[in-house]
Amino acid sequence: MDITVGTLLLIPFVSAATILLFLRRNGKIASYVSVAAAGAILLLSLQIIFSETASSVPESGDTIADSGVTWLEIADFKVVADFRIDDPEARNESKALLFVVSFVGFLIHVFSLGYMADDAGKARYFGGLSIFMFSMLGITLADNLVLIFVFWELVGFSSYMLIAHYFHTKEASDASKKAFIVNRVGDFGFLIGIVLTYWIFGTVNLSELSQLMASDPARATTGIALALACGFIGKSAQFPLQVWLPDAMAGPTPVSALIHAATMVAAGIYLLARIDFLFTSEALSFIALLGAAMGLYAGFCALVQRDIKKILAYSTLSQLGYMAAAFGLGLEGVALFHLATHAFFKGLMFLGSGSVIHSCHHEQDIFKMGGLRRRMPITANTFLIGVLAISGVNFLSGYFSKDAILLGAYNLNLPVFVVLYLGAILTAFYMFRLYWIAFCGEPRSKHVAEAHESPSVMTGPLVILAVLSAFGGFEALWPETLFAAFHDDLHVVHGMPGHMWMVVLGTFAWVAGALGSRRLYGQVGNEDPLIEKAPALFQLCYSKLFFDEIYNFYVTSIQQRVARILEVLELLFISGLMVRGSAGVAGLFSLIGKSLYLGRIHGYAFWFLVGTVAFLAYAAGWFGHF
């Protein structure tokens, strides 16, 4: 294991440990420690990415197992802690994600300095951020499935801890629990997939697996692929496990930006990209359909939300669906590209919303906002760039990645394309809706009227991310090592026919969405105009197809009832039958014995004579000889 890689992982770990043990009371120093750690991670990552020798892939002939530290060894089963930066085909997915994680992570750390300045639990927050960075870097760099699983769970733990930051509220307490448990359901499938992979392929190391599959592609099975994809479904909040992400907005906004927009939820897509050689075409088409469906569904849900963070959360769900669809079409490079651009513009918009929430005294309802364009110019303008990017306005970063996905879908899978295209129109529609309502018009509540621009420690990252969102789509501006992950599949897509047509459609989509939402939401009061104009549609979207209700029903009525029934059964039958039952058997014997105590002389005499007769009969041999 490379020294630099080891240090990279050690830095956030040490930072978290230091904060936990020594700096619990001292929030300010804790924040500086954490931000410094994030900065160091960024520098180290850049060094790793851009140096030529940062590979820990051994010479051919050595076993992979020799290159890492053996973490656990029982009988023949070994878990080796091996990390690697690039893979044999030099696709550099890990470098790309490493860049995104460390860069966006650093910016969000800096932003948090401003956002959490007045928070009492600052130390806990920054400790959690450090643990998150540690776990996320682990996922990025790990080379075997067991190691990925370990860090996968740790990322889930960091998410739990950070969502529960405002733990005195019921909302945060429930949301953190929900997030962890729903993630666990995904991990359940993931775990089974890992175990089966080990026994069927003989290894869990990704490099070895890709070599095995390269030599014999027919060995992939849909079952294992889908089992491993359960981890993705849980972590990236796809059907049916998407319910935790909107609730996770109960955490502080920078957490939502970092974990639930830019990085952790992207880990699922990253996992898929890493194990893509294990996927059969059935598994791929399943994922494509799943992703496309989520892309559209989440758009409808976002359409009727009032909370600015919830809108962004559903938008994240939708974009993750796009990434999944891209992967399912066989274009994982395009999926990763969209992951990167999404990290930029979604991170930007979340931080922007954080800036808004912070200066409006934690007001999150967009129908109480308005006119922020004039009061918070930097925030509003950067936010606008984010909205333009996600809507696919030409030549911004989101345009390039989304256009590639749509073009690929148009050529490879027409139904998926139709769904995704409708989703694109919807995306522009609801994102512009957010902009018109929150930033334009007149302020609709007192706090908002008094809002002022956030300090530069918060607007700085906004500007940087805005630049990236605007120009991050141009291939020429990317360093080659980083772009290598996206390069091949993007060129495949650009070679496909229908490109002009796609440009036209794409432009139409965002223009229609922008103008349409301007029409509807240009002048709003405190209520959503859609409620009067199209009540049925509103209700349908608001219900989110009753996923939350169904799960709640399951948990309270079915699961708890079953648990109670089993408890009663247990007390009745097992306890009662076996424990008291055995006592009962003893009691039965005693009852029989008791019945012989007649208390009457004749009874005794009778039994005495019966006994004598029996004895004589035995002596006479009537009961057989012994």
Binding site: G599, R600, I601
Partner: protein
């Protein structure tokens, strides 16, 4: 005329024994139970004497003496107990003497 053989004495003995047996089991009055007991013992005596005569062996007759002695002793003890019990319970019927029940 045939000689009276052992079987005839045994039949008498069995009859006497069964009368006594039924008396012990069925009678309610404890005095009569004691008498029936005596009857059973004497039935056994008859059988023993008959066997003794038949096989010209003195052992049987000697045993009869033992039985008679023991029977006498036992009857006196039993009657004494019964009298004491009567003084307590004013009854010699078995259905009134159930203190040991349960």
């Amino acid at each position: 005329m045939d000689t009276i053989g052992v079987q005839d004495f045994l039949i008498v003995s069995v009859l006497l024994f069964s009368v006594g047996f039924l008396g012990v089991v069925l009678r309610r009055n404890l005095l009569l139970v004691l008498m029936s007991l005596e009857l059973m013992l004497n039935a056994v005596n008859v059988a023993l004497v008959a066997f003794s005569r038949h096989s010209a062996n003195m052992d049987g007759s000697l045993f009869v003496f033992f039985i008679m002695t023991v029977a006498a002793a036992e009857v006196s003890v039993g009657l004494a107990l019964l009298v004491a019990l009567y003084k307590k319970r004013q009854s010699v019927f078995s259905e009134h003497l159930t203190m040991l029940k349960n």
